[in-house]
Symmetry: C2
Subunit: 376 residues, 2 copies
């Protein structure tokens, strides 16, 4: 007999909608000087906790705290050692313990000032301290501006893999100030450019074309070129996240190139920079898509050309063990019922869905192995 | 000039609603035998991870895993050492690392089998592994059945205090089987009864009356009395959580008695059992409410009478340092702009709101100190 209809069974249903708290993204060269008024408008916390790694704290942290204090806000600076190797549970715990010791109240807000590591880990602290406090992203790298700071993903790395623990926690405000990029080295720009190319590849061929033509201006940090680069990427990403915030469908598209890139990073012990790994991953997944008949011919070649414009790699370095890359893809979070699934494109600027409407495609290990072999 | 209207400022707004995934609560004596069909109906995961402490694993864990495997489900049992002292970041991390090592996929579901500690910590693991997987609560204590397992709060303790890190993560299914209570010692029943009295005190005088009259039957574990006890409490709690899932208003009511009880627990190093602390806390906060003119006269006396029926304390033991209790209340998560706020009742069965509609009331340290002095 149906268990919930049996005599003596009491049944309750709790359908608790979370209130929608919009995430406001403001992009402007020099926007940091507007931080106090933007916080007053969108966050209005009685206390602000600025989190930065030691390097960014030295470059920008004191300035940001001063801007806040000079405008009458209560602000503290919390720092941690820089680098992806510190995106750990231990460092996260140290952060929340220090926040808890300050007892800032549940209406405090946390500001992440830095790159993707800072945003991910400080975001996880904001998501978990007192079951979630308000969160603001102030990205200082191009990667964080066009990708990591947008969309509400927070995470720390586990021994078993990157980003395996985390939460969805939307920032109330993302303040994007390209002036921070003046101090970013060229390889830092490339990490962000790989994600910008991805946004063009999955959704906007005209944007990809503009990116390619603007390459010299971008490397010269011309504000107008950076503004088009950043806003074009954010437009693609916010559109997708708006339609699928929890990655139950379309958002998986943003993983284009990333299943293989995570495999490359794991197989090389993270010796390959993230942007380079994503670049290789996109070429590999476009090639695999061509082999599977999903992706139009010459799509991988078209991506190779764009990536080359930015000095991003499009073949596998000799030292990369392809079998290890393939093995590492199997631990991907997109795996469903044991099968690794890939976000693929139909052509540059156009996502590929399966016939039954899925945003990810099951690819056999053999297909991916052949794609990797072509890139050697 | 308004920063978002300035020329050259690009602005995006992301209003990402989370899908509402209803939490189904099924209360039935012997419901565990229906677990497979309830999971198929409400969760439908390809893989189930059952988390229990070593004690509960020995009593019930293998049975639950067998029920699942015998019905063709994939199930694993993960255990951790019992007790509130293990509700830590270290034990949580060990749990998510073990889950990650199993690489169960993002569509796996985690089942918390046990009391409040297990539900809180396993729930935090479910909320954070792969940014959140499906979660099921199978409470085995009365406290968890009437309170901890209902409402989606998950947490671990920090050095700075209890439950200071956590998430809101609603279970898809809460399976409440009072047959588990047959092996629960009487002091375990009392911990749950204190919360049941709280639910009556804040919202349902008739329920409180029934509780009091049913005391002998409850202690004899008569199924009909336990069913009324459990469903009455769940009705109060789900009603409140439904209206305010994220504790931005009405949900604070569920903290009636808990600001002082947390203070008592902190001041005594958790030597006082949770139910006893909540009982004392309710009397203290009702008395403070009377002193502040918010709570009707004799309300605290009425609560004392009910608590006595269940063998719950209603005065402070001589060893409790009242100054330390008071100091500890100041770290309460409900503090706003530095002032400690209390959930209060107007009379038994009726919550008290402030004139401006708030669900919590600021009370001076002096008022609380006088209430504590009356209880010595």
């Amino acid at each position: 007999m149906d268990p919930v209809l049996r005599r003596g069974v009491a049944r309750f249903t709790l359908s608790a909608a979370r209130p929608i708290e919009p995430c406001h993204i403001v992009v402007h060269h020099g926007a940091v000087r507007d931080l106090p008024s933007l916080l007053d408008r969108y966050v209005a916390a009685p206390r602000y906790l600025v989190v930065a790694d030691d390097t960014v704290a030295g470059l920008h942290g004191k300035q940001v705290v001063s801007v806040l204090r000079d405008s009458g806000h209560v602000a503290s600076l919390l720092t941690f050692p820089p680098g992806e190797t510190n995106k750990t549970a231990t460092v996260w715990l140290g952060l929340v313990e220090r926040i808890a010791a300050l007892a800032p109240g549940r209406d405090a807000a946390l500001l992440a000032l830095g790159g993707g590591v800072t945003g991910d880990m400080a975001g996880f602290a904001a998501a978990t301290y007192a079951r979630g406090i308000s969160f603001v992203q102030i990205p200082t790298t191009l990667l964080a501006m066009v990708d990591a700071a947008i969309g509400g993903k927070t995470a720390i790395d586990l021994a078993a893999g990157k980003n395996l623990a985390g939460c969805f926690h939307q920032p109330r405000l993302v303040l994007v100030d390209a002036a921070f990029l003046d101090s970013l080295p060229e390889h830092g720009l490339r990490d962000g450019l790989a994600e910008a190319v991805k946004h063009g590849a999955i959704a906007d061929a005209a944007y990809l074309q503009d990116l390619e033509e603007s390459a010299p201006a971008i490397f010269q940090r011309e504000p107008a070129a950076l503004h088009r680069l950043i806003t074009g990427s954010i437009a693609v990403k916010t559109g997708i996240v708006q339609r699928d915030p929890m990655e139950s469908g379309e958002r998986a598209l943003l993983n284009f190139g990333h299943t293989v890139s995570h495999g490359i990073e794991l197989a090389t012990g993270y010796a390959v920079p993230h942007g380079a790994a994503v670049a290789m991953g996109m070429v590999a997944e476009a090639t695999a898509g061509e082999l599977a008949g999903v992706t139009a011919a010459h799509t991988a070649d078209r991506l190779r050309q764009t990536l080359a414009t930015f000095g991003l790699p499009h073949s596998l370095p000799p030292g990369v063990d392809r079998d290890r890359v393939l093995a590492a893809t199997r631990a991907d979070k997109k795996a469903r019922r044991g099968r690794v699934r890939y976000a693929l494109i139909r052509a540059v600027g156009q996502a590929a869905r399966t016939d039954d409407g899925s945003w990810t495609h099951p690819l056999s290990d053999d297909t991916v192995a052949r794609a990797l072999a072509r890139m050697a």
